[in-house]
Symmetry: C2
Subunit: 388 residues, 2 copies
């Protein structure tokens, strides 16, 4: 734990089949005006919409609704929500949905009373809000982003064709409460489920693939990766396996509530590339990450060889006998790739709607960073070509 | 994650060499009357006492001191602290020390304005306090209990010869902030260091040794155990190895901030037995746990064989080839025992001051519980004899 850190995450989690029974006690802590934000029809199909509305009514809340939030939530929707907050003097924003809905709600929260241009201030210049923000609660129905217990908000500015993540101070913008019932995820289409799994795995790897020290956080990340591999293999066979789905749900929350990132440098470049892929193609976030990751790893692994060797041995159980470090590392990356294939995720960018012409546009608009190796736009173009 | 749970832990952690620089900003959140609680002379020897007093003075605080808290903090000290809180209208209790000091402060916090007999209410009847409690901050100098990020308070009632743990609601009684600088632990005597390591390991095992499901929490616990084994082996060679000591410190905090216990039944019986050993012998807590654990495991492991097999394979890397499950499990327990010996911890109760006559007294006063197997007082006597 060589890198100093501060950490505080006050989200109240209620997890399990009985989680929704805690909603009333949480609602009692806030004023009467609630903005309920959700996606399309899925929460109505599973009956959750009616249940939540009834609990809100029983609690005497005035409910304003904002619906239609889809994957890659748009900045225009953030502004629309902010307007509703101001017009209805909203006391609590209740997100019912997946990471996109929750990320949108965080955007609404910080934008409602912000002066100036919120996009410029928060998503481009990464300012910390100083104006009033609105507390958020969540009822999670789709798993992956970890947004239910963190302060990140990834928003797409359609006009500018930029998808950008803001990370607000954890104690300020992490949801005040999150209701996690794995059963709500049963009806999520398989493609969305595996996209979520790939997103979780990416979060774990991106926190893991840095550092030269013996760091407790790395051991915990390895534990979380092993748990996720085990649960995912069961869930793709039987998506209604409660045990498997509950494990995937908690792997996602732990995977990005930032406790498994403390004292780590981290390398979020795959996310940076995918954000621009998402801005150009509307490809599902996790699917994009899964396609880009192996190509990225093969491009950079020699610069952090010892870490990719550890990844291969501890996570993928590669037998090192008689192999060079490079061979071990590459075998680890291949096993990760096989796991991704096992989940039924496509292997190439062309399968998710990217065209050859988009690749330089994506490469040139990606935020440059990296871990053991700092990438250039040329590197990114090569990586994109490698998985095209 | 088959068992439903709620979780919220709002402790603000500041970790690393620069952690103390955050003290002023934390102090600014509370009123001016501070009760500073510490042990004996060690915080003066390392210069920490002077540093903290200066920061408190610069922040304009009125400081009342309570010192002399030692291991197995006594109920009489809790009452003394509660009196000081009332007399000085204390706004914040600042614990500077290890788990004993922090546990004592939690006791003081709930007892200050409690009606009735706090011992009876909180430590015997496990009531949740309804009266005003005083916020706590900690500066940790000794590692093991995890008290810096949880709500437990183990107190010894000397008169009644009972050592009892109270676990208050996490969000109510976990410290508001904790300052964790691994350097403060360098001067802790080696015996105390290994006692702390044994305590951490015990917390991890006691959360781990339950359940029949594939549970994410178990993988995280395995990760934490592996991290602790690695760091401990370095720290006993060089106690001033910052990397190793910082890992041990974080393993302790993660080990009992309850995030690695969610959705687990848990088996805290070794702690129950040790509490009574502590009430009779004043043996260092972790040392007692380390002596009792192997005997306890050998007494009960057949009732949860699959779990002890997993412990052996995943934590102790026992090669299962050609062995029965029972042999694998026993080999795991033996390897744990060897690790404890490696740390230089005695193997028998007689070495830590227990007499043969004490054993039935300890057995008969221990709270009965267990995990896969529910113990009787006879079982406990047999376990005590086995490690006498």
């Amino acid at each position: 734990m060589n890198i100093d850190f501060s950490y505080c995450n006050p989200t109240q989690i209620h997890f399990g089949k009985t989680a929704l029974t805690h909603l009333s006690q949480e609602l009692a802590k806030y004023g009467s005006n609630v903005l309920m934000v959700y996606g399309k029809s899925s929460i109505k199909k599973i009956g959750l919409y009616d249940q939540v509305i009834k609990i809100l009514q029983d609690a005497g809340k005035q409910v304003t609704e904002l619906s239609g939030i889809n994957s890659n939530p748009r900045y225009t929707q953030v502004l629309e929500g902010a307007r509703l907050v101001r017009e209805n003097s909203i006391d609590l924003i209740l997100a019912v949905g997946g990471g996109s809905v929750i990320d949108c709600c965080k955007g609404i929260s910080v934008s409602s009373y912000a002066t100036g241009d919120p996009w410029e201030r928060f998503w481009i210049n990464k300012e910390t809000p100083t104006e009033k923000v609105i507390p958020i609660g969540t009822i999670l129905t789709m798993v992956g982003t970890g947004s239910e217990m963190n302060s990140g908000s990834v928003i797409t500015n359609e006009e500018q064709k930029i998808k950008n993540g803001a990370v607000f101070p954890l104690a300020m913008m992490t949801p005040r409460f999150s209701i996690l019932n794995p059963e709500y995820t049963f009806s999520v289409p398989k493609y969305q489920m595996v996209s979520g799994i790939a997103d979780i795995f990416s979060h774990l790897m991106e926190q893991y693939l840095s550092g030269d020290d013996d760091c407790t956080t790395d051991y915990l990340l390895e534990g979380n990766m092993l748990a996720l591999i085990s649960a995912s293999r069961k869930a793709i066979v039987n998506p209604e396996d409660y045990e498997a789905r509950s494990n995937i749900m908690w792997c996602a929350t732990m995977g990005l509530n930032r406790i498994l990132g403390v004292s780590k440098q981290q390398d979020w470049e795959v996310h940076m590339i995918e954000h621009q892929l998402g801005a150009y193609t509307d490809c599902a976030h996790g699917i994009g990450l899964a396609i880009i990751s192996p190509a990225y790893f093969r491009h950079v692994f020699r610069h952090g060889l010892h870490r990719y060797v550890r990844f291969a041995k501890n996570v993928w159980k590669v037998d090192p006998t008689g192999k060079t470090d490079e061979q071990i590392a590459l075998e680890g990356i291949s096993r990760f790739e096989s796991f991704i294939r096992e989940l039924g995720i496509p292997a190439t960018l062309r399968e998710v709607g990217a065209t050859r012409e988009m690749l330089p546009l994506i490469a040139n608009s990606t935020i440059l960073g990296g871990g053991y190796y700092k990438v250039t736009a040329d590197d990114i173009l090569q990586i994109l070509n490698d998985c095209y």
